[in-house]
Structures are given as C-alpha cells and as structure tokens.
C-alpha cells in the first residue's frame, strides 16, 4: 500500500505503524461525570466498518507525523490523508 503523505507525497505503508480508528482522537475527559463508561466505550468498542474507515497511521520511518487516513477497508482505496494534528484541532481537541 501507498499512503499519500500530505507533506511528503506517496510513501510505502511499510514505513508507517498502524494504530486504529481515528475515533481514538476523541479521548474522553477523565475528570468528567461518567468518565469510566465513556472510557470503556472509547477503549473497547469499534465501528469496524466494511467500507470507509478513518484511521491513524504513524510515519515511524519518516517524519514522525501521525496521519488520519481515510481508506476503504474492502478495496483498500485511500481517498484522503491529513495530518492528525490538524484533524484533532478541527474536531475540537486542544490542550
């Protein structure tokens, strides 16, 4: 597979380490009410779709960027690649 790195262009997926669903960006607030339930869902339940999947890849043998890759799990076609940091900010993560 090739991942079209937003800064570096197409790179062999072998240079990356996979983590999983990009929903892992949305770590619950540990101090919030009902945090334990939220963490159990966050930690253990996955949509696992057959089709479009947003997922986290780390460019370990490259620039050390975490990427959010939108990939079809049936065809492996990649439709979008973004820096995870940008996605996280856009989706409301900060400090």
């Amino acid at each position: 597979m090739l991942i079209d790195h937003p800064l570096l262009g197409p790179r062999d997926a072998a240079e990356f380490v996979y983590k999983g669903d990009a929903a892992l960006i949305h770590r619950p607030d540990g101090a919030a009410e009902g945090a334990l339930e939220a963490f159990i869902d966050y930690g253990y339940l996955r949509d696992n779709p057959a089709g479009t999947h947003r997922e986290l890849w780390f460019h370990e043998q490259g620039d050390r960027s975490w990427l959010v890759v939108t990939r079809d799990t049936v065809t492996h076609e990649i439709s979008r690649v973004e820096l995870a940091r940008d996605v996280a900010r856009r989706e409301g993560r900060s400090k």
């Binding site: 597979m1 930690g43 253990y44 696992n48 057959a50 999947h53 997922e55 799990t73 049936v74 492996h76």
Partner: protein, 416 residues
C-alpha cells in the same frame, strides 16, 4: 452411509457408484428452534453438538456462500493447547481432547495428526515466560515439555545455529499439538450434522434480524424470513458486519492474516515449529507443502488479501531459522479475515438482545478451537449457561477489567 476402509474397497471395485452426497443441500423451512448463522467450522460444529450432545432438533445452519469457505478453509491447520492464562487454557485443552476423538466421533478422517508443536526460545526472559506457560499447561491437565537446545536440534537438525542472529536456547514442546486437514473439518461436521437432521442451507445470506421488544425472533435472509427460537451468530471475520444489523458495536476489528504454502517437497518437518525471535511458524502437510505464516498485516481490512511487507517479513523469519528454505518456492499466498478482539481472546456469550447469541473474536486462533467452540456454544444455546471451560469469554470482561490477554498487548487488536 458409514465410511470405512472396507467401503472404500467395495466402491473401488464397483466403480464408486455407491457414494452419496456428503451432506444434503437443504432448502430453508419457515422456522427452526435454532438458526446458526455461518457455515464455517464453528457454525457446523455448533449444529453438530447441539444435535448430538444436547438432543436438539430443528436446527439450521445458514451459509452466505459455500460451507467451509471462510477461515476453516484457509488457515495454517494448527491445533494446540499451549496457552498460559486460566481463562483460555482449559478451553483449548478441551478442544484438543475433542480433536483427539474427532474422526471416530464424526466417522470422517480429518487427519488429526499429533506430530507436535515446538516454540523456539531465544532469550532467558523468553525461557522464563515459556516455563510459566508450560507449567500453566500442565496444571491445567495439558502436556508440555521443555526442550534443551540439543533436544531441539535432534528433532530439527537443519535449524540455523551456526550464524543465527538470535541463538536458539531451547524450546517449549507440546507433543499432542499438531495439524488437521482443515477443509475436512468443515465437511466432516457438515456430514455428521446432516446425518442428525441439521439443515445446511448454502447460498443463504442473513440480511437482517427480526427483533421485537428486545427479543430476536428470527432472521431475514436472501431466501426469505426464517423464524427461530434462538439465533446464533457465528461468522468470525465478518462479526461486526453481521451484528451491526442488530445495532451492536463489538470489541472487535477485522484484520487480514496472510498464509503461505510452498510447492510439494519430500517431508522435512515432522511437526509445527515457531520462531520466537521473529514472526514465522511452519509445518508440512501430508502432501508435502510447507504451510507457514506470521503476523497479521496490521490494518483494518475486509479485503481477504495482504501486501508484500508481511510476506517478506514472514520469509525473513523462515530463512532466519531454516536457511535451507532459500530454494524452496512459495506456491500460493492468501489472506483471511480475522475477528481481532481487544484482548486477543474470543467471545461466546449471550447478547443484550434475548434470543440472540454471539460467537466470534477468534483472532487468528479459531481453527484449533473449532470443536470446543462448537461444543461450548451449543452448551450455551441449549442451557443458557456458559460451558465450564468458556466462562471467561464474556462481553462484559472489558467493562469489568477482566481481560484475557495472553500477549499482554492491551486494547490494540493488531498486536495480538
């Protein structure tokens, strides 16, 4: 019809005209007591044990394509019970015992071949961990033997010790481990279940569940609605896709595991051997092909095919311990879909929907579990209580913090 050597001779002399279908192609009826979704090894075994051990009638197995076309038809055929944790070891040992009597039970030669499995040890820390595991096996009634480097070399004299990057420091052997002719497991269970009246319905895909007031009363299929007293999902590899139709999210990711077979070679490997410092395991089939594999590709996939990096990684492992393999040729590679669970262990449990049961999350270890999985699932379906060897395989173990994590990798399915 009973299979036997005499029968084979008789048929040979009479032009093989007497052999009937190994199982009937059943058409779906309107209702069953039990509808098992998935005609793989586990589903067929479940049907068989439901009928045989629990005296249940009116059972259907619904298969989307052809029976045995999933992971029971594409795996590396290994059976073993060399697990470490209490939640697992009794179950896999139960499975191994069922394998040991399988052929006589089914009257089908699935070639259960207990030529042993050997895990190589490459460091002192690894030896410590294997000793702990071997003791856990023995304490659970299984067999295990710690082999010295010399004993390992006596069994596999062509292992690389001369210029090995990671030295071989012995091995943990389970002599009762081995291999089974995988397709024959599906066919044997299918034939035996069929003989006990189970309807095996091929080309019948479940498209939805009938759920009324929190109770599952049947399934919608490409061949019509089928009412059911109990519905049993058993489609590892596609569990999330199926259970989504019942509104469930699972602690499972689907991943692809590649496996490989070489051209047929004169026998060199007596049993199954695993490399402990890389990702490689290998056995040799009765036809002579080296059957080998390694890690999953590591990304969510439903594509049933993998990519080159893992192929290369696996062959590197092979060459590291068996440098004689260089000139043997890889004949075929394929990818199977794995239900990778969040702790590397399976689930056999009721769901929050009455009448709907779940069996899945087998990671890449489902084949060896086939008999016990079928038996335990049948037990659960028939009695609504978990089988004593499968009490830990519950959905709620994650919420409760009772993970069964053999590899200690945590909620990272691609590392199990």
């Amino acid at each position: 019809m009973r299979y036997s050597g005499f029968r084979v001779i008789k048929e040979a002399l009479t032009g093989h005209r007497g052999w009937g279908p190994a199982w009937r192609d059943a058409a779906p009826q309107d209702a069953y007591d039990y509808v098992i979704i998935g005609g793989g090894g586990h589903g067929l075994a479940t049907a068989y044990y439901l009928a045989k051990e629990f005296g249940q009638a009116r059972i259907a197995v619904l298969e989307k394509g052809w029976i045995g076309g999933g992971n029971v038809g594409r795996n590396t055929t290994i059976i073993r019970s060399n697990y470490m944790l209490d939640g697992n070891e009794p179950f896999y040992e139960f499975s191994l015992k069922l394998w040991e009597g399988l052929e006589q039970d089914l009257n089908y030669n699935a070639m259960v071949s207990q030529r042993g499995i050997l895990n190589l040890i490459h460091s002192d820390a690894q030896r410590d961990a294997f000793i702990r595991r071997g003791n856990a096996m023995i304490l659970n009634g299984a067999d295990a033997e710690l082999l010295s480097t010399e004993q390992v070399m006596a069994r596999y004299p062509f292992l690389n010790v001369n210029d090995a990057r990671f030295p071989i420091k012995g091995g943990l052997a389970q002599h009762r481990g081995g291999t089974v002719r995988h397709d024959a497991v599906a066919w044997g269970y299918a034939r035996a279940a069929d003989q006990r009246g189970v309807d095996i319905i091929q080309n019948c895909e479940v498209t939805g569940f009938r759920i009324e007031r929190g109770r599952c009363t049947g399934v919608e299929t490409t061949r019509g609605v089928i009412d059911a007293g109990k519905v049993a999902a058993c489609v590892a590899g596609a569990s999330s896709r199926l259970m989504e139709k019942a509104g469930m999210r699972l602690p499972i990711e689907s991943h692809v595991l590649q496996a490989f077979v070489s051209e047929g070679l004169k026998p060199v490997l007596p049993g199954v051997i695993t490399f402990g410092a890389g990702h490689f395991y290998c056995s040799q089939s009765d036809k002579g092909g080296l059957v080998f594999g390694g890690d999953i590709d590591g990304y969510n996939s439903y594509a049933q095919r993998g990519n080159l990096p893992v192929v290369e990684d696996v062959c590197e492992g092979g060459m590291a311990i068996f440098p004689m393999l260089g000139r043997a040729r890889l004949l075929r590679m394929w990818g199977g879909l794995m239900d990778m669970s969040m702790d590397g262990s399976p689930i056999i449990d009721r769901t929050h929907i009455d009448g709907l049961y779940f069996n899945g999350g087998w990671c890449y270890g489902g084949f060896k579990a086939t008999p016990a999985s079928g038996f335990a699932y049948a037990h659960l379906l028939a009695t609504d209580r978990p089988h004593p060897t499968a009490t830990a395989y519950r959905f709620d173990r994650f919420a409760k913090g009772r993970m069964i994590d053999e590899k200690g990798m945590g909620n990272q399915p691609n590392l199990h």
